[in-house]
């Protein structure tokens, strides 16, 4: 037995790593600019130039804090034409533009030169300050306008990769440079950009794209940092300290968010399992014991319909009927407590009393589907048991039918539904996305949906990873429980 458990745990590790990888892959490909969002609310009013410099510094800080300045993984599959250092370019659009240029031309040396000259061109503009008093021939606003336009075109050029677009932008820039004499300091820079671009087109080496190469980055990468932390500087690491990082929305540690949200989800999933067991076991047993009776038939039909009923429909119907001022305004439609919170100084019992009406409808929705499933499983399991020899023996002994079924039969029929209990905790982490968001229960399910809608990927990965982990543990526990309860099963 011990050997079996050890073996299972041993298999467990690669599975767990694969789960973290899957979550990680999703987050890496996720849309949205995390750093930009972290910085966005810091923006203040002030001098344009100083502000953009300030933002750049802030962005750099956040990149380091979130570990986004690191390569993604230990290694990557890339081509001969691509450099190892492409990850150092922070701007997603710029990176994509460069990568697409490589994809098209395959000559990194030239593309790098082009990119560097373009960056220089752009940065010189950023640093450029015009003494507007000196330039008399133009209107002050026109000067600023022209400069801004130039900046805009230059930054757009950095993110373009199609030949037509690049040519059009370049033409616009040279027009600007020719029109305004005060822009002449940029002319030489721009000539260089143009030169470099034409040299890209001249020295095409597409063949390099067709030769795969594996680039190694060592352990300083985002995945490693996520798992093991960076020595406690910004992240403690998932494996040793359970640190999932910072939520992009609230900027709080993910574990705090989960801690504050899991309560209600756990409450509802426990409640629903207990209720479901309480109702489904008697129904399943009774239906199986009197097989073919009217009770069996009608319960079968009802259970089947409940089983096929979409939970969001039932939830909407319930709210429409029992929490609708036009029909019955008996119960509140959403939340778990009054909108203004509990009254001051309310004791626990009073709080429970206040919350009960809020809980009834969600509890029904949480329970009915698992209850339908459990009853059906219970019935089948019981039918299996009733046909066995030892039940006949029990009957032959002259035991009452009640005793045969409830005492001798039930014990063994309970086996298959033990498994389901192991799913309670993982279900609590994922929460029931639909029911929680319909009833606006502040639990993990509505939090997950909120996280997805706001691209809060650290949160989503945390949910995926923890659920995966708990499910695996649940399987292990239920397998062991099986072996303990049923001596016929042995793991060797």
């Amino acid at each position: 037995m011990l050997q079996y458990i050890l073996k299972r745990i041993f298999i467990f590790i690669p599975t767990l790593i694969a789960i973290t990888l899957l979550g990680f892959i999703i987050s890496v490909n996720a849309p949205g600019d995390a750093v930009g969002r972290m910085v966005s609310s810091v923006q203040g009013n002030g001098d344009m130039g100083a502000q953009s410099v300030g933002i750049e510094i802030k962005k750099k800080e956040w990149r380091e804090k979130l570990g986004l300045d690191l390569p993604i993984f230990y290694f990557s599959l890339t081509s001969l034409s691509r450099p190892d250092t492409l990850y150092k370019i922070y701007d997603k659009n710029e990176k994509e533009a460069l990568d697409r240029l490589i994809d098209k031309y395959g000559n990194w040396e030239q593309i790098e030169m082009y990119h560097n000259s373009l960056t220089k061109f752009y940065l010189n503009q950023e640093r450029f300050t015009i003494d507007t008093n000196k330039i008399k021939q133009y209107d002050k606003n026109a000067v600023l306008e022209a400069l801004n336009q130039l900046k805009f075109e230059a930054s757009a050029l950095k993110a373009s990769y199609e030949k037509v677009v690049i040519n059009a932008k370049m033409e616009k820039v040279s027009n600007l440079l020719n029109t305004y004499s005060f822009l002449t300091p940029f002319k030489s820079d721009f000539e260089k950009v143009k030169q470099n671009y034409s040299s890209i087109e001249k020295n095409v080496s597409v063949w390099k794209n067709y030769i795969p190469r594996i680039a190694f980055y060592g352990y300083k990468n985002q995945y490693h940092r996520w798992l093991f932390g960076d020595g406690g500087k910004f992240s403690k690491g998932l494996l040793l300290h359970g640190d999932f990082g910072i939520s992009y929305v609230t900027r709080q540690p993910i574990s705090d968010v989960i801690y504050s949200k899991i309560g209600w989800s756990l409450f509802f999933s426990m409640l629903s399992v207990i209720l479901a067991y309480l109702i489904s076991i008697p129904i399943g047993v009774k239906a199986a014991a009197k097989r073919g009776s009217r009770f069996d038939k009608s319960s079968s039909i009802i259970l089947f319909m409940l089983y096929s009923m979409p939970s969001f429909w039932l939830a909407t119907l319930l709210i429409m009927t029992f929490a609708n001022t036009d029909v019955f305004s008996w119960l509140p439609a959403s939340g778990v407590k009054p909108a203004l919170g509990y009254p001051d100084g309310a004791s626990f019992l009073e709080m429970v009393k206040i919350s009960v009406p809020y809980i009834i409808l969600p509890a029904i929705c949480y329970t009915y589907s698992s209850f339908a499933f459990l009853s059906r499983t219970m019935r089948v399991a019981m039918l299996d048991v009733v046909g066995q020899d030892y039940i006949r023996t029990a009957r032959a002994k002259g035991l009452s039918e009640k005793k045969v079924i409830w005492k001798h039969g039930l014990k063994n029929a309970l086996l298959p539904i033990i498994t389901i209990f192991a799913n309670v905790f993982p279900a609590a982490i994922g929460g029931s996305v639909i029911i929680e968001s319909i009833f606006t229960i502040p639990g993990m399910g509505s939090e997950s949906i909120y996280a997805i809608q706001n691209n809060d990927y650290p949160m989503i990965i945390a949910v995926l990873t923890i659920t995966g982990f708990l499910t695996l543990v649940g399987y292990l526990i239920s397998d062991i429980l099986y072996a303990i309860v049923d001596p016929r099963i042995s793991y060797k």
Partner: protein, 454 residues
């Protein structure tokens, strides 16, 4: 070899005719006896036909129209416009999709049974008009009239005047196609992987060390040439249309398989070198089982939503692929269990002893006998795929917001509870379809596996 093979197949046919027992016929008979399942099957055929012809029964474009001497078939035609020459020499262009057909002075016109488009609005009847409520029709002169029966919103309207019945019929097409196509993907994956895992187990697929390593390198190369290089082509296709995404993916898959095949041949050669000759077992079962374990340990809905959030464009095809790629586990598990049983049966041993190729045995001899449980799982799978799709559109994620689906209609009903028709009808449609598939699954299980029937 070929001769023997012929013999054995002839023999099979002969045996069948001697015993006069055809399992398919028997199963069909059993299935027919199961009344709920049989009726579900009939309703399903009806729904499928409804889904297929939905573009011509719920559309605002008339089926037939005669206008100024020109005959048009807007709903049935592939063109979107028609030029009409007036008597004074000017030309009038009628664009089929934006023309105000209901106000047209046509000589004769035949409308579709539901003369509304699911995505268009009827402003005159906006603001949740109930099925039995007063619906108005404003004619060309601007006179308000009672709604003629052929234009009536039989199932009411939504907030902006969307026709609910038209949305429902259109939703049938979306739900059924997502359910069926995603299960097609899932069953290919599930049956293939389940069959390999069950048949080979952990210690039956033997190969030389050299071939294994070459194959592993081959997978990297195949991925590189199939997907890495083409990544921008694929991602650009997403901006184009669902069809071109499919095309690009298929091209990628073909390249992937071709490269893999080259490496397979190469591996055979490498395996002949004495250093790499040592034979090793490929733990197919472990690999497949672990993959299944990983997928089923994830919360399905959250996984699907977060994957579909990655895609730049929301589209139905994306959703199909994602649902297909995440729900094959049930089918794979059942197929695997069935193959575990079958691979030890005598007739497989016999086929092996005759020297048939493994893949031939798997797909020709073993698979037909292992399909029954998979078929049942597929029927249940379609039900759950439909549920997933409608849950996603209920939450407002997954499908494009402009598409009218059962879930999105129901979601719209949440804004206004007095509009019961927006909640009841779409919900009933989902419930009915899911029930049908579940009943079908149960019926198939009873019919195909007599051992389970008690």
């Amino acid at each position: 070899m070929e001769d023997k093979n012929l013999n054995i197949e002839n023999l099979e046919i002969k045996l069948e005719s001697e015993n006069d027992f055809n399992f398919k016929k028997f199963a069909w008979k059993q299935f027919k006896k199961n009344k709920p399942a049989y009726y579900s099957y009939k309703i399903l055929i009806f729904l499928a036909i409804l889904a297929l012809i939905s573009p011509i029964i719920a559309t605002d474009q008339p089926l037939y129209c005669k206008y100024k001497g020109v005959t048009m078939f807007p709903a049935l035609s592939f063109y979107n416009s028609c030029e009409i020459k007036n008597e004074d020499g000017t030309t009038e262009i009628i664009q089929y999709d934006i023309a105000e057909w209901k106000l047209l002075d046509a000589t004769s016109i035949i409308f579709a049974p539901i003369a509304y488009d699911p995505n268009k609005t009827d402003y005159n009847n906006a603001g949740y008009i109930s099925p039995g409520g007063k619906q108005i029709f404003i004619d060309k002169a601007g006179n308000e009239k009672k709604m003629p029966a052929k234009f009536r919103h039989w199932f009411g309207t939504g907030k902006a005047g969307e026709d609910v019945l038209s949305g429902l019929i259109n939703g049938t097409r979306i739900s059924l196609s997502i359910g069926i196509l995603s299960m097609l993907i899932a069953s290919f994956l599930g049956i293939f992987l389940g069959a390999l895992a069950g048949y080979f187990g952990d210690n039956k697929l033997q190969t030389s060390r050299g071939a294994l390593w070459t194959m592993l390198i081959g997978v990297v190369f195949a991925y590189y040439y199939g997907f890495s290089i083409r990544s921008y082509k694929i991602s650009d296709a997403f901006a184009d249309s669902g069809f071109s995404v499919l095309m690009q993916l298929i091209i990628s898959l073909i390249i992937f398989c071709a490269v893999l095949f080259v490496f397979y041949l190469l591996g055979k050669l490498v395996g002949k070198i004495s250093v790499f000759k040592k034979s090793v077992f490929i733990p197919v079962d472990s690999i497949v089982s672990r993959t299944i374990e990983i997928l089923i340990s994830m919360p399905l809905l959250i996984l699907i939503i977060s994957i579909s959030a990655i895609a730049k464009e929301k589209s139905i095809i994306n959703l199909m692929v994602i649902i297909g790629l995440t729900t094959w586990t049930g089918i794979a598990r059942l197929t695997r269990a069935e193959f575990l049983r079958i691979s030890n049966l005598d007739y497989i041993q016999a086929a092996k002893s005759m020297g048939f190729k493994e893949f031939r045995i798997i797909f020709k001899h073993a698979l037909p006998n292992a399909l029954a449980p998979a078929l049942v799982a597929i029927a249940f799978g379609v039900a759950s795929a439909i549920l997933i799709e409608s849950s996603l559109s209920f939450l407002g994620v997954g499908v494009p917001p402009s598409t009218a689906t059962w879930g999105s209609l129901l979601n719209a009903g949440r804004e206004q509870f007095s509009a019961w028709w927006l909640v009841v009808f779409p919900g009933l449609a989902i419930f009915l379809t899911v029930t049908i598939y579940n009943l079908l699954g149960e019926g198939l299980r009873d019919a195909l596996d007599p051992r389970l029937k008690k």
